[in-house]
């Protein structure tokens, strides 16, 4: 079970609270987790990754285990502690703008 924390605006959009728990099978990568997340919550499509390019939106960041994973390959395995459900994958709205 993969734990995911959404930023407040996306929690509101998806009408969820607290952490999400996603059933992800296979090699757990950032891309796979986001694919599962968007399949389960289709209203999130385009809000984390650009709809056309599939790239992370500029002001969205990914953190886990006190590391910034934003610029890691989307196909790189996520840290073991995320895969084991011991730590959440944090999807964060960057502190930008005013």
């Amino acid at each position: 079970m993969i734990r995911v924390v959404l930023p407040a605006h996306l929690k509101n959009l998806a009408r969820v609270s607290g952490e999400l728990r996603l059933e992800v099978t296979g090699s757990v990568t950032q891309r796979l987790v986001l694919d599962v997340l968007e399949a389960q919550y289709p209203m999130l499509r385009g809000t984390i990754r650009d709809r056309q390019s599939g790239n992370r939106r500029a002001f969205v960041r990914f953190f886990a285990c006190e590391e910034d994973l934003s610029n890691e390959s989307p196909d790189a395995p996520l840290p073991d502690r995320v895969v084991k459900g011991e730590e959440p994958l944090l999807i964060v709205g960057a502190m930008a703008g005013g």
Binding site: P7, H9, L13, G46, T47, R57, V60
Partner: protein, 371 residues
């Protein structure tokens, strides 16, 4: 009519303001989608309880919301706006080519007949249509791929398609306006488009007959006379009596002819409204006075409407999509300011009062007369 519903988009959410047909006491609902920019909320004339809202943010991109109960509840709708075929380039601010890139939806224009059909104007400029109630969107690519497209450049607010007018008589005719390309018309339901900008004069454009490159802020028409168009250009208020084939200036005795919105009275096709703004470098009303100007002669001769509006120390702007008229009699007029007020007049502009105040900066105002 039992009432009116004013749909307000702001920098930080949507608000719905309702009243009876007397338009005296107002009830405010919102913020809906708090914290998000709401560029536009508009309702279907065919089913007034069906609303479409453009919700966007610099962080999370474009979301489309739909309500089927007049804004009490909302559901996310389709937000995939894919340009058809080869995307191509337009001109960037530096004069270099830059590929079209979708940024946001500025404006919805629902079909007058079918609640499932709605048009959407995008930045970077393109027109999309949904025929399934905003679940999916298809571009009408003949506009973006017009031969002049590679010469279109963004205005300061982006290269946005901000105005869509569906001709109420000729169902194959539509008008759109793009900053800073100009006005375009289709006579074949959106398959092909032609620029209709002859007669526009824009300082800084060397060729006075340039077919594109004009910073048109807003166009409007009266449904009884769809060949008569009114325009607030960056500078200049303009009029066309031949569906845009040619334009002439009607700024007349306005104190300044810079501005954003323009609207036509619901029952008097020669009565039009603008809000003069000091200049393109000072985006606020002149002399600290918030004045709507009304012409009852189709332009050239204008009168200031001030009763109930602040006449000292007011430095607000009124954006292009932030003025609307209702269809009651007398006609109601509404506009929203960058200072968060929405003013209404239930007597054609003679007197005004805030229907809500101290909202976030207002981006758009629409009004529905409810049965």
């Amino acid at each position: 009519m039992s009432g009116v519903r004013v749909l307000v988009g702001t920098r930080k959410g949507a608000f719905i303001v309702t009243s009876t047909g007397k338009r005296k006491n107002w009830k405010v609902s919102g913020p809906h989608f708090g914290g998000w920019e709401i560029y536009h909320v508009n309702g279907s004339p065919a089913d007034p309880d069906r609303l479409f809202a453009s919700q966007s943010s610099g962080w999370f991109g474009q979301v489309i919301q739909r309500s089927d109960d007049g804004g009490k509840t909302w559901e996310p709708a389709g937000n995939e706006f894919a340009y058809e075929g080869e995307v191509g380039d337009h001109l960037w601010y530096d004069g270099k080519p830059r590929p079209w890139e979708f940024k946001r939806i500025w404006h919805f224009e629902p079909s007058p007949d079918d609640p499932d059909t709605v048009y959407a104007g995008a930045e970077d400029a393109a027109i999309f249509r949904s025929t399934d109630g905003a679940k999916t969107w298809q571009e009408l690519p003949g506009l973006r791929t017009h031969e002049s497209g590679p010469r279109w450049q963004p205005g300061a607010g982006g290269m946005c398609l901000h105005t869509i007018i569906l001709d109420p008589v000729n169902k194959d005719r539509m008008f759109v306006a793009i900053s800073a390309a100009g006005v375009f018309r289709t006579d074949d339901a959106g398959t092909s488009w032609q620029p209709i900008n002859q007669g526009l004069r824009s300082e800084g454009i060397p060729d006075p007959n340039a077919d594109v490159g004009h910073c048109v802020h807003r166009i409007a028409l009266h449904p009884s006379r769809p060949d008569v168009l009114f325009m607030q250009k960056h500078w200049d208020v303009m009029r066309s009596d031949n569906a845009g084939e040619s334009w002439r200036e009607i700024s007349g005795d306005l104190p300044t002819d810079f501005g954003f919105p323009i609207a036509v009275h619901a029952h008097e096709p020669e009565t039009i409204y603008v809000v003069p703004i000091k200049s393109d470098s000072e985006h606020y009303v002149p002399e600290g006075k918030l004045r709507v100007y009304r012409s009852r002669t189709g332009g050239d001769e204008w009168e200031p409407l001030t009763t109930g509006l602040p006449q000292a120390n007011c430095y607000h702007n009124v954006l292009r999509d932030a003025m609307a008229v209702d269809s009651l009699d007398p006609c109601g007029i509404y506009f929203g300011t960058s200072g968060g007020q929405v003013y209404g007049s239930a007597d054609g502009g003679d007197t005004w009062a805030p229907i809500v105040r101290d909202l976030p900066a207002v981006l758009s105002v629409e009004v529905q007369a409810l049965p």
